[in-house]
């Protein structure tokens, strides 16, 4: 197969039948629509293409503007990029560092919104839409506003493609379960399914209110989304991030589907909703969820919530068994005389930027993090030279000196660190 343009590869994704040991349902077959097979990796590739396709001739002269924190931004940027434009995203929702890094890498301009004001000013609109409109008004004719939360093309592309593909592949659908973000993909897909299977039960998945799941909103936030229509859903199910991640891992490990936390949330919500219904059924039924994107985007998010999943056996470190003794600590009151008498090598353990600003005369800079690396492997110091270690408050320097003493180095630490030195009005110099 040869594609003429990357956009030709959007859509036509397969369905995967999820195994019973993942969902545990006896009478319901659960299918995942593999939207992570799209060229840029998510269901939003369709959304972006659906919205921008009618405006391709305007790209090149106009940049795209949107409030998106992830997949939509990525897809909009890619389409804009191949037509000679860029995306500017105005958002306060980028909470996953990888998403920000990838967007920066591919050329998206990210503008963060100011936080909610605590000093209440009744005249302040405090609304992201207001900022976008200001930006557009100030730069007339330079922006194409894709407006994914209100743009009906977002719904339509999923009606035209996602929903149609599902019906073509498996015919009747009894349950359709979608994560609610802009609600466009769930709405459009479900509308198409409904035409074919009028009795389909449509369920929306949202995050619990104090929680955060990428790509979907919580119930209160959903009420502010333009495309959201509460009457369309039989039920709205809340899930939390921890359970969603557990479900995601089950799907990854059992079925080999490398899907992300949003898919985990849809899976978890489906099982919660379908479990009881499943026991009352005597004929087989079919349910469909959307596997929106892949897991690799969300490593920092997952690490934050499930650090134990990344636990590795810890290697032995130089400071594991160092006995702390005050015998290496030198009093700042008599330090000048001691230096004069012993001419030590003075090693400052602070960061270079701090060392550059101000330091003890004749000292050299060996940042603690670097020394830490070295000490894990070897001892770089000679044994016939007195060394005075200096850190901010005399803690790290004492640890290093105590350790080096066990290696027969004549190591000392400045008690109270450079703060004590300064408080004693001892001379400091700076690199200009």
């Amino acid at each position: 197969m040869v594609a003429q343009s990357i956009t030709d590869l959007i859509g036509n994704t397969p369905l995967l039948k999820i195994s019973k040991n993942v969902h545990g349902l006896q009478n319901i077959e659960l299918y995942a629509k593999l939207e992570l097979f799209n060229p840029w990796g998510s269901v939003k590739d369709r959304t972006a293409w659906g919205i921008l396709q009618p405006h391709l001739d305007e790209l090149g002269t106009k940049d795209v503007i949107e409030r998106s924190s992830g997949n939509t931004a990525k897809a909009l940027q890619m389409i804009a990029s191949i037509h000679g434009s860029n995306l500017k995203t105005i958002t306060n929702r980028i909470r996953v560092q990888e998403a920000k890094d990838v967007l920066t890498l591919i050329g998206t301009q990210i503008q963060e919104l100011p936080g909610k004001s605590d000093c209440y000013d009744p005249h302040d609109p405090n609304d992201p839409v207001a900022y976008i409109q200001q930006e557009i008004a100030q730069n007339k004719d330079t922006y194409l506003y894709s407006d994914q939360y209100f743009n009906d093309l977002n719904r339509k592309i999923h009606y035209d493609t996602t929903g149609k593909e599902i019906v073509d592949d498996i015919g009747d659908v009894d349950f359709f379960i979608g994560g609610l973000g802009t609600t466009g993909s769930t709405l459009g897909t479900a509308e198409r399914i409904k035409e074919h299977s009028p009795d389909v039960t449509v369920i929306g998945i949202v995050a619990e209110k104090d929680d955060y799941i990428p790509g979907i909103r919580n119930y209160d936030e959903i009420l502010e989304v333009g495309l959201f229509n509460p009457d369309f859903y039989k039920d709205i199910v809340s899930v939390n991030s921890s359970d969603s991640l557990e479900s995601m891992m089950k799907l990854i490990r059992s079925d080999g589907l490398l899907a992300g936390p949003t898919t985990g949330a849809s899976l978890k919500g489906s099982i919660d909703y379908l479990q009881e219904i499943d026991t009352t059924l005597d004929t087989p039924k079919k349910a469909v969820i959307i596997a929106c994107d892949r897991v690799e985007w969300y490593i920092s998010y997952i690490k934050d919530r499930k650090p134990e999943w990344f636990g590795e056996a810890r290697e032995e470190r130089w400071d594991d068994n160092v006995k702390q003794s005050a015998s290496v600590d030198l009093d700042v009151a008599t330090i000048s005389d001691w230096i004069k008498k012993n001419s030590p090598l003075i090693v400052d353990l602070r960061q270079p930027i701090s060392f550059k600003t101000v330091h003890i005369p004749h000292s050299l800079n060996l940042p603690y993090d670097n020394l830490d690396l070295v000490l894990n492997t070897t001892n770089p110091f000679r044994t016939n030279q007195k060394i005075l270690f200096v850190c901010p408050i005399g803690e790290k320097s004492s640890r290093v000196a105590n350790y080096l003493k066990t290696k027969d180095v004549e190591a000392y630490s400045l008690q109270g660190g450079i703060n004590a030195w300064r408080d004693q009005n001892l001379p400091l110099e700076r690199d200009v």
Binding site: I90, S117, D118, D121, D124, K209, L223, N419, R422
Partner: protein
């Protein structure tokens, strides 16, 4: 039933359970009556210091006096290590007479000549608001022949980060980056007369990201100041540490959802007076607008928030507390609301109960909105009922609205619906918890010649008039 249960400090809980005493005080001093717990302020102060200690950095606390006019709190803090942030001539005079010396006082905000003069004469720290204020201050020093050096902070209004591009709202206080760089030179040429303490900022938003960007900017400029030959003592990261008023996130979430749901579905009972929506409204089935209440529930408190800021990593500088430590810089904070967390209660007498045209229950209290409102923000925690003996405690059927005692339609104490466990009756007292920070007297007025509310200081050995309180470092139980 949508309740918003307040968090109550055990000491406050103990006083409020003595119903006889509360009635006696209310009868003696009228309604509303404010109770201040100065020793709880000291507890908060200690907790802030503990955060600094856990990061092994030197932290200095400047209590933002504007948050409450209480003299007892000033006197209590005068015997601690903390400094004070005053914003007017009168506040400065009060601080001096409560026992703060000039070196422990910082003058902030717009300053008239009298305020500036007195601050200079006492060698208080001047937090400079603009290049023109720097000029005026230098002229005044000369005109009045002030010979002692003046310590100064320079307030910033422009923040740029190498990593994060945040839209900045317009700001009327402070120096832009260029103005700051020029002012550093001016300060340097007056080195013998001016003592540059450092840069300061005060954000109005509670966004952690913005605070980090502002700290990053302050540190860059601090390094420039050092390069110029100045010797800044630290950075002042301002106040705005948010507090948590409520016991339960579930109650809070349910309440906010109920407001929105009632706007979307007019067949549901209204949650706000006249379905005014507390700043929100429904438009084509969607919620629009900006709420006239702040988040009364927060998942973490002011001390955890400070801890998060100090633990944060900045590009170039690394961990903030580590960088401050390495460069021998102090961190100054200016907490107001967060210092006063749990240190005040407002008591109000229930006057009468009316049924509105649309069949809502309206309870009239002997107080008005100016006694509990900062600007126009709604007070979002439920008052406790201190019932009179006549109250039969019949179960409340529905929520009620709490009206003030002004003959004005807008005068509500709670424009939101309040759900009580049983109906308050005339003669009962309602106790609003945690009002000391900005709610109690920030915009209090004597409109329609209702007098200002009285203030009492409640402490471990009894009570006194607020201004008669005498601090002691020995705690008696």
């Amino acid at each position: 039933m949508y309740t918003l249960t307040p968090i109550i400090h055990p000491q406050i809980h103990k006083t409020l359970t003595d119903k006889e005493k509360m009635r006696e005080l209310q009868n003696a001093f009228g309604s509303p009556l404010n109770l201040i717990y100065p020793q709880i302020v000291t507890e908060n102060l200690k907790q802030f210091y503990e955060v600094f200690a856990s990061h092994k950095i030197k932290g200095e606390i400047l209590y933002a006096y504007k948050a409450n006019k209480s003299t007892a709190i000033l006197k209590e803090l005068s015997v601690t290590n903390c400094k004070i942030d005053v914003a007017s001539e009168k506040e400065l005079q009060q601080a001096l007479s409560a026992g703060f010396v000039g070196a422990r006082i910082e003058a902030t905000g717009p300053k008239n000549r009298a305020f500036m003069r007195l601050a200079l004469q006492h060698s208080a720290i001047i937090n400079l608001n603009s290049p023109s204020e720097l000029e005026t201050m230098l002229e005044l020093r000369e005109e009045l022949n002030i010979l002692i050096p003046t310590p100064v902070f320079m307030r910033l209004k422009e923040f740029k980060s190498k990593q994060t591009n945040v839209i900045q709202k317009d700001v009327k206080f402070g120096f832009s980056i260029n103005e700051a760089k020029n002012a550093l030179k001016t300060i340097h040429t007056h080195k013998d007369n001016l003592d540059f303490i450092g840069f300061s900022f005060h954000l109005t938003s509670t966004s952690e990201k913005e605070r980090l960007v502002a700290i990053e900017q302050s540190l860059y400029l601090t390094l420039e100041a050092i390069k110029l030959g100045l010797d800044p003592k630290g950075i002042n990261i301002g106040g705005g540490f948010s507090i948590n008023y409520l016991e339960s996130s579930t109650e809070w979430n349910n309440y906010v959802s109920a407001i929105k749901a009632s706007l979307l579905d007019p067949t549901k009972p209204s949650m706000s007076w006249n379905q005014s929506g507390l700043g929100l409204w429904a438009e084509n089935g969607k919620i629009r607008g900006v709420a006239t209440f702040s988040d009364f529930y927060r998942p973490y408190n002011q001390f955890e928030e400070l801890n998060k800021v100090l633990s944060a990593e900045l590009p170039t500088f690394g961990t903030i507390s580590q960088f401050l430590q390495e460069n021998m810089l102090h961190v100054f904070i200016e907490p107001g609301r967060s210092m006063l967390d749990q240190s005040g209660v407002t008591l109000a007498k229930v006057g009468s109960i009316n049924t509105s045209l649309k069949d809502e229950t309206v309870i009239f209290l002997d107080m008005n909105r100016s006694h509990i409102s900062s600007i126009e923000l709604e007070f979002m925690s439920d008052p406790l009922i201190i019932p009179s003996n006549a109250n039969k405690k019949t179960k409340a059927k529905d929520g009620v609205f709490l009206s003030g005692n002004l003959c004005l339609p807008h005068d509500f104490i709670c424009r939101r619906k309040v759900f009580f466990p049983y109906s308050p009756q005339p003669g009962d007292i309602l106790a609003f918890i945690n009002t000391a920070g900005y709610f109690m007297d920030f915009t209090e007025s004597e409109t329609i010649q209702h007098p200002h509310a009285s203030k009492l200081a409640i402490h471990s050995s009894g009570w006194s008039l607020d201004e008669k309180y005498e601090p002691s470092l020995i705690t008696k139980n």
